[in-house]
Symmetry: C2
Subunit: 146 residues, 2 copies
DNA sequence: TGATATAGTTCCCTTGTTGAATTGTTTTAC
DNA sequence: GTAAAACAATTCAACAAGGGAACTATATCA
């Protein structure tokens, strides 16, 4: 791939990612139930998948400082969506878990987002979508490993 | 494409997009010169491409309220990166343009981001990257048209 | 045991966002 | 030709999210 080709591809990538991200996050914002934000939902989903996790792990995964995570966690805690469970052995560690209410909200939102995305992704042939996602996952992997 | 396949694809899409977006925006954040944010850069780039535009157009493109745009524009104005040019005929309209300084900063940042993305995208075969981008552009189009 | 590292929090400041109200200007309808 | 409606941009108050520095409490290491 020569320089000019690469340049063109990157330009097109920037353009597409800008449009897709802005539009999708606006659509998702509208979907959110009272008071929940997209970031808060992201945290809920992450915890739901892992069953439990720590603030530091969230900070790493979300690529932000730990103080940002503390702030979000506090808001979710105040809404009674998550629980703080201190580790028995190492008392510096506080595990985060969803409450029943938190799990309900996360699942409800997941379904809504699935429905939203389905409206757009179903426009594509299965093969095209599969190929696309596979490359996207590769990109995610490259970004994670470096 | 049946329901379960679609469900799996969407799940994988959410996962990949989360990782890519979080990682890339953290990398881009580090690249930014003193005081400029990614959103501010996005606005500069948009204006640079169109030569000039209005606040309302930016609000539409960025999918946010006009008051958000006013806030960002004011910060860029204070940094002397953009100029406000009232329309001669319709005095409600204020066109935004880059100053020389603004154009310099935008171009400098664009080069840095190109270099950053090149480090990752160059890992892919040209054909794979082309196919990927083409689908991504289609998705952007579908999202824009609805 | 004393120094160092780690997990999480707190505090302060900045940015981006919303939504409602406001100002000034233009267009429309009668 | 004027009154009403529409429109572009701004202001303001409130909040979410982010960074960084300082801090607390606990654990590990030498």
């Amino acid at each position: 791939m020569d320089g000019e080709q690469l340049h063109q591809l990157i330009y097109r990538y920037e353009s597409a990612t800008f449009t897709v991200n802005r539009r999708l996050s606006a659509l998702i914002r509208e979907l959110m139930p009272g008071g929940l934000t997209a970031d808060q939902y992201g945290i809920l989903r992450y915890i739901q998948e892992r069953q439990r996790c720590t603030s530091s792990e969230l900070a790493d995964m979300f690529c932000v400082g730990k103080s940002s995570i503390t702030a979000i966690i506090t808001r979710l805690f105040d809404k009674e969506l998550i629980r703080r469970m201190p580790d028995e052995k190492d008392r510096r560690i506080i595990y985060l878990q969803l409450t029943e209410k938190g799990a309900g909200v996360a699942t409800e939102m997941e379904i809504k987002i699935q429905q939203l995305l389905a409206r757009y992704i179903s426009h594509f042939e299965e093969q095209e979508a599969e190929t696309f996602i596979r490359t996207y996952e590769k990109l995610a992997k490259v970004l994670t490993e470096q």
